[in-house]
Structures are given as C-alpha cells and as structure tokens.
C-alpha cells in the first residue's frame, strides 16, 4: 500500500500480530486453494471486510509473495492483478485515478475474471474495429479516387 507511508506507524512491527486475523485468513486461502485444486471452485476474499491492524495486510502480502504474473490494468485509474508465489492465489488491487487504493481482494482462481477480455467489450471492440476498417477502406477508396482523378 503506497499511502501507508503517510500513516503514523506507531511502533508496530509487521510481525506483531495484533488482531490474530493474519493466520486464520491465510488458512482460509489454503482451504480455498484446496477446493480450487480438487473441485475447481473459485473463491474471493475481500481484505476490507476483515479488521486488520496497520502492517498486517503487508504481512499477508509478504507471506503470499510474488509469483509469475504481474498485470497492470488501466481501468478507471489502474488495477494490479498479481499472481502470488502460490499458483492460483491472486491479489487484485484497485486504485482510483489518484493511485489510492480503493479495494483489495484475494482471488483464488485460475484466472481473475477482470483479467479476461469481457464479452461486451469484445463485442464492442469488434464493432469498433469493423468501423475502423470501414473508415480505412473509405479513406483508401477516397485516396484512390483522388489518385485516379489526378
């Protein structure tokens, strides 16, 4: 979290387990991962729904680590989609236009939904591309015409 630097940190070390929520949460992730492996069931955990002391979220992220995939999305500000050291465990962080965190989820899935190209966007994109090609063609025709006229 970028802006935690601006928060008064008191004397709390990242290893201090203030709320005792770190371990249970990681256990939840473990179970979710087992379910993904055996039943292909996906899960999402909203980190905001759990009271965490300053530093505890960092601790969780530190334990999960950084894996093979890092993606940056440019949607209404940016979003980071990162696969952790544990394949199938993703951390999705949403930022607003000011790069301030507005949401953070742990997704246990093969591919976070938001990373996929969306059907509506794809449909709209194909329309847009078709239009674009039409434009190109029109432009070509126009320039051909002009060339012929010349």
């Amino acid at each position: 979290m970028d802006q935690t630097d601006s928060v008064i940190h008191f004397n709390i070390q990242a290893s201090d387990q203030l709320t005792w929520n770190v371990e249970p949460l990681l256990h939840e992730v473990k179970h979710a991962l087992e379910r993904l492996a055996t039943e292909d069931e996906t899960s999402v955990i909203d980190l905001r729904s759990i009271p965490l002391a300053p530093g505890e979220e960092d601790r969780i992220l530190e334990i999960l680590g950084l894996g093979e995939v890092v993606a940056r999305l440019n949607v209404l500000g940016s979003s980071d989609v990162v696969e952790t050291e544990y394949s199938g465990v993703w951390v999705v962080t949403h930022y607003n236009e000011n790069e301030e965190t507005i949401g953070r989820f742990i997704e246990v899935t093969r591919m976070p939904e938001i990373l996929r190209s969306q059907a509506e966007d794809v449909a709209e994109a194909s329309e847009r591309l078709a239009l674009r090609l039409e434009d190109e063609q029109q432009e070509k025709q126009t320039s051909n015409k002009l060339a012929v006229e010349k």
Binding site: Q3, I8, L18, R48, S49, L76, E100, I114, Q118
Partner: protein
C-alpha cells in the same frame, strides 16, 4: 447535470455511451460491494442489476448545514463510474453543485419533481428550524415548506449527515432554532438515515447503488441506518480491539501506550457505542480513520453526540457532575439521619416510659 436524452436508457447504456468499459464497470461493482460489506459472491449479481437499471433522478436539498457533507461527497475521490452515476447522471438539483442558479435552478427542480413524481430520490442534508421559518430559507421558501413539497413526490428520502438524521449541531442544547431532523417531520415516506459529521461519502453512493441494484431500500436498523454500513460498531471492527480485550489502554495522548497504539477507551473513545463503517471503509480514500490516527472516536454518527458529555471522558464515566450533588446530598442526609435517629430515640424513650414492671402475674397472663 444529467442530460434529458439519458432519461429512458438503462444505466448500462448510459455508461457505455460515456465510454466506460465492462472491466471498469466490474471494478466499480467489486469496490462498491466491498464498501457495502457485501460478499464478493454478490458482485456478478450487482453488476447485472445495475446494468439494467433505469437512470435514477436525485434531488438534493440543503437546510441548516455547513456543506461539510457535500464536501465529503465531492472529495470522495470516488471512481469515475461513481461520479457518473451520482453526479452526472442522477443529480437533478443540488444548489451548491449545480451550474444553474436563481430561478433556473428552481425550475430545474420543479421539472425534475414533476417528471419523476413518485420515483425520485430526495437527499437532504441539514436540520430544519421550526421555531421561526425565517431562520433558513431558499429562494424565499422556508426549509420546512420546501422539504414537505419535495418529500411528497419522493420514492424515498436519504437524510445525509447528523443534522438531517438527528438534528445535529443546530439541535445541540439549547437548540436556538428549534431544529429537528427529517424523520421528526416526515412519517409517511421511507427514510434512510446516513448519519455522520460528515458521513462516509461512499455510503451515499452505496445506498444509491443498492436502490438501483435491488429496486428497494437497503436493510435498515432501528435508527433507520443501512445495516451494511452501520451494522457494526467502530469498537467491533477496530483493529485496536485486542488491546481493549487485554486491558491495555493509552492513558494520555503522548504516553507509551498511545505510542504503542493501545486502546483509546480511557481517552473517551465512543467506539463501543458508535455504529459506523469508519474502521473498515476508512477516510481519505482508505488512508485511515480517527482511531488509526491516534484519536478516539467522537461518536459523530450517533444521536445527540454533541450533548453526550465531554469527548475525552471515558464512556464508563457518568456525564452528570455528581461531586456537588453528593456533597449536598450528604449534608441533607446527615440532617435527615439525625432526625430519624432522634425519632428512633424518641420511640425507644417512650417505650421505656411506657414500661410497667413485669410482674409474676403478667407471666401467667
């Protein structure tokens, strides 16, 4: 302000025409669900409902208030979609934010009320003075009259801020204007109270989203507050709660306990009696909330918080100043005690006087 051509389109159409991608929309739905403390499993459902919702009409009235609530909302740094839904698409009248002024503004309001009669949402911030209608007027219309007129055609009313919900600062003792809350005046419309001084901005958009998503008001507690945001106390969601449970308290604002981030109960924290989402939603775009900054919760979203005793007195300390009372009571009681003691002595004295020697004859009865 919303353009009139948006009126019959669904929200999805409007957003797409504003160039909002599906991904952006999903991001909005995810963050909104998170803020409304909904299970992430509900995100797809929210998305679908919002997509197909009709564009809402919102009228915002401000009475005896400080504009802090509006400031809070506009500084929310909310996502573009949020701004789009609330600000650009829905808000038909808000005299601080709208470009139009004077008669034009009032006309816009009249028009919106007329066209969306029975369907628009009425947002109110500020309390209503009842002692003298002249204390607060807009375009020559008293707050009371304006509220009653606008409320008549509203589908629901959202009272924003502690003033509108409970009377707030204007109502604080001695309440010079006779200020009352929206719910004091209106009994026949659903009212959603979004208290706080100021309230958390996303609660307003959250309620709006809920209204659009489910076509109904969110579940409310007995003070009319959305349970999604006000269902748990600051104390219950506070990351410093373990210190309370262990009995580790900061005694002053600069002692070792305060530096170690211990519980602020002794410094007057109202967390245990205050229901709000600050501890999880946090302020300034999720930066922190008062307790995280080392200051106790003031309980700004609870009724009568201005009159609830010193902010820095622990909750277990009585608000009444009993010191003097006890002194007078003790003096009075001592006098009464002496009187009763004298009465007892008199009773016994007269019993002694009434005593006749018990004789053998008495024993035989």
């Amino acid at each position: 302000m919303a353009s009139h051509s948006d009126k019959e389109k669904t929200l999805g159409d409007v957003l797409r025409s504003h160039g909002v991608s599906r991904r952006s929309f999903m991001k909005y739905c995810a963050t909104t669900a998170s803020m409304m403390a909904m299970s992430p499993a509900m995100i797809p459902m929210i998305a679908e409902a919002l997509e197909n919702a009709k564009k809402p009409s919102v009228i915002w009235l401000s009475f005896q208030e400080c504009t802090g609530c509006t400031e809070s909302l506009t500084r929310a740094g909310a996502s573009t979609v949020e701004n789009l839904i609330f600000d650009s698409i829905s808000l038909d009248y808000h005299h601080t934010l709208q470009a139009a002024s004077g008669h034009r503004a009032e006309e816009a309001k009249e028009e919106a009320m007329h066209e969306n009669h029975g369907k628009y949402l009425l947002v109110v911030d500020g309390s209503i003075p009842m002692d003298n209608p002249g204390y607060s007027t807009i375009a020559g219309i008293s707050n009371y009259d304006m509220l009653m007129e606008a409320a008549e055609g509203a589908a629901a009313i959202i009272a924003v801020g502690t003033c509108a919900t409970y009377g707030g600062l204007p109502k604080a003792s001695p309440n010079p204007t006779g200020a009352v809350s929206v719910s004091d005046l209106i009994k026949d419309k659903p009212i959603i109270n979004v208290p706080g001084c100021p309230p958390i901005p996303v609660v307003i958009t959250g309620v709006l989203t809920h209204f659009l998503t489910f076509g109904a008001l969110p579940e409310l507690d007995d003070l009319g507050r959305p349970k999604a945001f006000y269902g748990q106390s600051i104390h219950d969601r506070c990351y410093r709660r373990p210190f309370y449970d262990k009995g580790l308290f900061a005694e002053t604002f600069d002692d070792e306990g305060a530096k170690a981030g211990w519980c602020l109960y002794k410094l007057g924290c109202r967390g245990p009696t205050t229901y709000n989402a600050c501890a999880t939603t946090k302020w300034n775009n999720g930066t922190s909330f008062p307790i995280e900054s080392g200051h106790p919760c003031l309980g700004c979203s609870e009724p009568e918080f201005w009159d609830g005793g010193g902010f820095y007195k622990a909750l277990s300390i009585p608000t009444a100043d009993v010191g003097e009372t006890v002194l007078y009571t003790a003096a009075g009681a001592a006098a009464a005690g002496v009187a009763l003691g004298a009465l007892n002595r008199a009773t016994k004295g007269s019993a002694n006087k009434a005593h006749e020697k018990v004789t053998l004859e008495d024993l035989e009865k």
